[in-house]
Amino acid sequence: MNVLVWLGVILLVLMIWVGGKSGARSFISLFFNFGVVFFTMFFMLDPNANPILITFIACIVIGCVSLFYINEVNSKTVMAFISTMITISILLFFIVLISKKLMIQGFGEEEEEAIAGMSLYIGVDFIKIGASVIIMSTIGAIMDVAISIATTMHEVFKHAPSLSKKELFKSGVSIGRDILGTDTNTLFFAFFGGYLALLIWFKDLHYSIGDIVNSKIFSSEMILILCAGLGIALVIPIASWINAYYLVRAREKLNKV
């Protein structure tokens, strides 16, 4: 049997064993998310479509699946959703700007062998596709931080309902700081692992530091890692502010009534 089927079955069994019903739901949402990425790619095949717009829609769908299906529609998930979208918009803008300057779109010379024999003039905009890839790689982590901050801030507010907006914001940021380290770690290692072969290639072929830093493939990897970290850092103040704003306003409304 196929390795992937085996691993998938083992994962499903483990998830149900550990998590019961919610484990099964997590597994289903993984496949849902996979399907969304897959469809996004199909829409990107159309040269007239704007990959950035498609990514944005895909992010909305992914957000709905991961936040509203796994949890449910309530003020926590809605706030997490809004903060994720705002962060992604800012990040998207930054990434497009940077990848134009750096010219890191498409494939590097190290990948020549893989793309040999294929037509490269395919009419789609690789700069925008590159930006989409970065966003899609980090959306999981950004959502994770957003939902953790939203949940904990709601808890804090429940126990101390008289907190001011500023104090709430501060508590949100301090929660975020605790997750910052571990989440950036998760992504760093994921990318390290994926590019281990590339690193060995650089060492084997005796690339100098100058060669490595300027090569397309390495700089695009670096930008991916750095932007992922930036996204995780950015969502912390954004989510804290939005939650603080919402909670204080909800309280004012309640007081008026």
Binding site: V3, L7, L11, A114, I115, V133, N185, F188, G194
Partner: protein, 373 residues
């Protein structure tokens, strides 16, 4: 006013040093042309000479441009001279790009026709912008994360250095097995990252033990599956950048890749279990187990999806290229996604396994602490 007084001199010094480093390094990369052996030229004028619409054999339409570039050489013997460069690029830019005035490129000088140098562009000088983004990253993490941000950066830098050093050893000595090197790396990565994240406490030790056990167990499961199926369904031929046996490189990459996520789960489990214990020293093992599983359920889904997105998204550009070249969908997917999916699934297995393992390790450590008191 209060805020400013709260910032200690230590923080000011650190900030000042960083600002100086930042300015210094950016000034350096702007002026470092003479450190490169390859000639670098700065584009000072461009004209588009030709524009043709092309359609390839699969019916994809694109536009090709020929660009004539005049650039000034910035280093080497020809410093200060102008060079003529020709550049052909497409509007999709999969393997080429348009150059604009001010871009710095590596060139190779092909001939000298009289006074005029002729050459071609080999690559783009990207160090300036990589550095700028790196500094933006550092400052954002520091501003948002303060101490935790600083520790995250320090951890990242140390881990990169450890990995680079380990690969140096691996490349230099053929007899050293990559799996041994990576095993030691994993040990170091785990200890360093977790100590930096949560300091020298019992819960850190519990998390380190849980991470290592979970890594070994999930490594065995994945290896076993690959061995039983003899790798059926994994398309190693699409693995890029290969200078060495692919199987070990894949396995090593797989484990370093899932390590971050496993550590994340392990530290979350152990710190919340210890928090429960701190709140109530008489809490029963049964209650600890029940809340541990609840916490595990909550984080399991999100962390596996972080890994899924990180791995799957990276193959989008190559998939698009395949599909646009009229590859059948099934073939394109199995060629480009099999390894990524295997990584994501194996990582997921590691994550889920870490929940019970982390739970029992934390309970073990808590019980030990209780027995001591």
């Amino acid at each position: 006013m209060n805020r400013i007084r709260n910032i200690t001199t230590w923080q000011w010094t650190l900030f000042l040093i960083l600002a100086l480093c930042c300015i210094g390094s950016i000034a350096f990369v702007n002026q470092n042309h003479s450190f490169y052996d390859r000639p670098i030229a700065k584009v000072i004028d461009t004209t588009i000479e030709k524009e043709t619409d092309v359609t390839d054999m699969h019916g994809n339409e694109d536009t090709l441009f020929v660009q004539q570039i005049v650039a000034r050489i910035m280093n080497g013997e020809e410093k200060g001279q102008e060079v003529q460069l020709a550049n052909e690029y497409s509007s999709s830019g999969a393997y080429d790009q348009q150059y604009r005035i001010g871009n710095e490129v590596f060139v190779s000088i092909d001939s000298t026709a009289g006074e005029q140098l002729m050459g071609s562009i080999t690559d783009v000088k990207r160090d300036t912008y990589v550095l700028i983004v790196a500094w933006i990253f550092v400052f954002t993490l520091l501003i948002v994360g303060h101490k935790q941000g600083l520790l995250a950066i320090v951890g990242f830098v140390i881990n990169v250095l450890v990995l680079s050093f380990a690969l140096d050893i691996y490349v230099k000595y053929y007899e050293v097995s990559l799996l041994v090197v990576c095993g030691i790396c994993i040990l170091l990565f785990t200890t360093i990252s977790l100590l930096l994240v949560s300091g020298r406490t019992e819960k850190t030790y519990a998390a380190i033990v849980a991470t290592l056990v979970a890594t070994v167990v999930s490594l065995s499961i994945t290896s076993l599956v690959i061995w039983i199926t003899s790798g059926n369904g994994l398309r190693y031929e699409e693995m890029q950048f290969l200078t060495r046996p692919y199987h070990t490189i894949f396995m090593a990459g797989l484990f370093i890749g899932s390590l971050g996520a496993i550590m994340d789960v392990a530290i979350t489990m152990s710190s919340s279990m210890f928090a429960l214990y701190e709140r109530d020293h008489t809490i029963s093992v049964k209650a600890l187990k029940a809340s541990g599983i609840d916490i595990g359920k909550d984080i399991m889904g999100t962390i596996t999806s972080i890994l899924f997105f990180a791995y799957i998204s990276g193959s989008i550009p190559m998939l698009i290229l395949y599909l646009k070249n009229a590859s059948p969908v099934g073939f394109a997917l199995s060629m480009n996604l099999s390894l990524e999916l295997a990584r994501a699934l194996a990582g997921g297995i590691g994550i889920v396994l870490t929940i019970p393992i982390g739970l029992y390790t934390a309970i073990f450590f808590i019980e030990r602490k209780r027995a001591r008191i």
